[in-house]
C-alpha cells in the first residue's frame, strides 16, 4: 500500500519558476484594491 509522503516536502523553485511565480503574483497585486466581484475564470478539463 502506498503511504503518504513525509512532511519535508518543500520543493525549492528554480530561478525560472520563481520569476514566473513573481510575475503571476504581480498580476494579482495590481487588482488587489478592486472588489473581487467576479470569480476566477479558470480553464476547465
Amino acid at each position: 500500500m502506498t503511504t503518504k509522503t513525509p512532511t519535508t516536502s518543500y520543493v525549492a523553485l528554480s530561478t525560472e519558476d520563481q520569476a514566473l511565480a513573481d510575475k503571476l503574483k504581480a498580476r494579482g497585486e495590481l487588482k488587489k484594491d478592486r472588489k473581487p466581484v467576479f470569480p476566477v475564470l479558470m480553464a476547465i478539463v
Binding site: T2, T5, V11, L13, K23, L24, V40, V45
Partner: protein, 224 residues
C-alpha cells in the same frame, strides 16, 4: 506541510494572477461579445483532456509497476471516467451561443493554449507522467465561487443554460481538488518529479493568462 499543501500554497499566487486578468475580461462591457471566443478557448483545452490522459496512462503502463505508478495509473483512469464527454457538453453550450461544432474542430487555438496543452505530451513522455498533476492542480484546484459565477453569467448576457458545463465544473471541482491533493501526497520524495509538477502548474497559469490577455486586449472598454 504535505506536498499538496506546498504545491497549492505556491499555486495560490498563480490563481491570483489568473483572477486579475479574468476579472478584467468579465468586467468588460465587451464580455458578451467575447464570451464565445473565451468558451472556444475552454473547448481547445477540454477537448485534449481524454487524449492527454490516455497518453499518460500508456506511458505509465511502460514503467515499473510499483505502488506509486499503480496509484497514479488508477488516478488517471478515474479522471478519464470523471471527465468523459465534457468536451461534447461544452460544444453543446457553444452551439447555444451560435458557434457550430464544425468551426471548433477546424480552429487553430491561440498559441499559448497550444503550448499549454501540447507541453503536457512532452512532459508526460520525457519527464514523468506525474508532471500532468501540476496542470490538473492548477485547472481543477480553484473552482469558481458559485455566487460570483452567477454574477459573471449575468454580466455575459448569455442564458444560464449556455454555461452548463462551466457551472458543473464549479461544483464538481471542489472534490476534484481533494482527489488531486490525495494523489499529490503519494508522490515520492523525488525532486525532479515534484519540481516538474510545481513548474507545470505555474506554467499552465502563465499560458492561460497569456491567452486571456489577448481577449482582454480586444475589449474596447473596461468597466470600472
Amino acid at each position: 506541510m504535505t506536498f499538496s499543501g506546498d504545491l497549492f500554497a505556491t499555486l495560490d499566487v498563480a490563481r491570483d494572477g489568473v483572477s486579475a486578468v479574468s476579472s478584467e475580461l468579465c468586467g468588460s462591457d465587451d464580455f458578451p461579445r467575447l464570451l464565445p471566443e473565451w468558451f472556444s478557448i475552454l473547448w481547445d483545452v477540454i477537448r485534449a483532456t481524454t487524449p492527454v490522459l490516455q497518453r499518460a496512462i500508456g506511458r505509465l503502463q511502460q514503467m515499473p509497476q510499483d505502488d506509486f505508478h499503480r496509484a497514479l495509473l488508477d488516478f488517471y483512469l478515474l479522471k478519464i471516467t470523471e471527465e468523459s464527454g465534457h468536451d461534447e457538453m461544452l460544444a453543446t453550450d457553444l452551439a447555444k451561443l451560435g458557434v457550430p461544432r464544425e468551426s471548433l474542430v477546424r480552429r487553430l487555438p491561440p498559441a499559448p493554449i497550444a503550448a499549454m496543452v501540447g507541453s503536457q505530451y512532452y512532459l508526460i513522455d520525457h519527464v514523468h507522467p506525474a508532471a500532468y498533476l501540476g496542470y490538473l492542480a492548477m485547472l481543477e484546484g480553484y473552482p469558481a465561487d458559485t455566487q460570483k459565477l452567477s454574477r459573471a453569467i449575468e454580466q455575459s448576457g448569455a442564458p444560464p443554460e449556455a454555461w452548463s458545463t462551466y457551472r458543473m465544473h464549479a461544483e464538481v471541482d471542489t472534490w476534484h481538488r481533494q482527489e488531486i491533493a490525495d494523489m499529490l501526497d503519494l508522490i515520492p520524495d523525488d525532486a525532479t518529479i515534484r519540481g516538474a509538477i510545481v513548474s507545470n502548474g505555474l506554467r499552465t497559469a502563465d499560458y492561460y493568462c497569456q491567452a486571456l490577455d489577448t481577449l482582454v486586449a480586444r475589449a474596447t472598454k473596461i468597466a470600472a
